[in-house]
């Protein structure tokens, strides 16, 4: 891997905004094998006290990491990645779905490893907490 140059604390990663629709959830269910019905059926979502279906936490987590891999290019640079699922992402059964914006910034650089902290916002809600990835710079 070539060196990722000029990375310092405070470096901002280009943000991305993603629309999640029911089709996104069905597609992720099939690709991941996570067929929990709260991700595609309002009936089962309401049975758990939710207003509507929610996105798979792992879909939100996986999408958020695109901020890092789009920036650093090679996903093999990702040494670690962790999040807490702070709030669900409700995905209504309509044409608009849910819009989630992901942003990242470098919060630590040490021994050729950058720590990136990711923010994930759905409307006003922070849907991920303590979302950080360690990226190999060299």
């Amino acid at each position: 891997m070539s060196e990722l140059a000029g990375v310092e604390v405070g470096t901002e990663l280009p943000p991305i905004t993603v629309t999640l629709t029911r089709a996104s959830l069905v597609r992720y269910a099939g690709a991941s094998g996570d067929f929990n019905p709260i991700h595609y059926s309002d009936h089962f979502a309401r049975a758990l006290g939710l207003e509507t279906c929610i996105a798979h936490g792992m879909l939100t987590m996986g999408t958020a990491l695109r901020v890092v891999t789009d920036w650093c290019g090679d996903p093999a640079r990702v040494l670690s990645y962790g999040v807490r699922f702070a709030k669900p992402v409700p995905v209504p059964d309509d044409a608009e779905g849910a819009s989630v914006t992901f942003a990242g910034r470098v919060t630590k650089v040490s021994d050729a490893v950058a720590t990136v902290t990711i923010d994930a916002l759905c409307g006003e809600e922070k849907v991920l907490a303590a979302a950080t990835a360690e990226v190999a710079l060299a």
Binding site: D34, V78, S80, G82
Partner: protein
């Protein structure tokens, strides 16, 4: 005391080997809307969070063990961490071994921390996926 508390430190047997394929990687990357070229082609690497697909296979051990009295539908994924030795690649044949790391029970809820070690069948360590699961038992009152 709940049965799960007495099993802290316990490791389940490894899951049946899973063959990572270029087609599955492409399907998973598409589901993330991720067009990174490293996820395409015969020598593709998997998106880092693909490790969760294999880890979830190992979670089944928790939910199918009759002694533990745990149900997936009563479980919330609270947090998730991955530590990678290298990316999963097309051609890897991988097993997942789950260890119950920590259990905190309060009333009818439990925070259960499990780690899942992913390794090739040749014994190469690939990734550790650590999760906290929040489980709620039905109210007994």
């Amino acid at each position: 005391m709940r049965a799960i508390e007495e099993r802290t430190g316990f490791s389940f047997p490894p899951t049946a080997p899973y063959s990572v394929t270029a087609g599955k990687i492409r399907e998973f990357a598409a589901a993330l809307g991720d067009a990174n070229p490293r996820f395409a082609g015969e020598d593709a690497v998997a998106p880092p969070t693909f490790a969760a697909v294999l880890a979830a296979d190992a979670w089944d051990g928790l939910f199918t063990d009759p002694e533990l009295d745990l149900q997936l539908k009563r479980t919330i994924h609270y947090d998730q961490k991955f530590a990678y030795a290298r990316p999963l690649r097309a051609g890897d044949v991988v097993t997942a071994t789950l260890t119950i790391e920590k259990v905190r029970v309060r009333g009818n809820t439990a925070f259960i921390t499990v780690s899942v070690a992913l390794a090739t069948v040749a014994g190469e360590h690939l990734c550790t996926a650590t999760s906290t699961l929040l489980h709620t038992w039905e109210d007994e009152s």
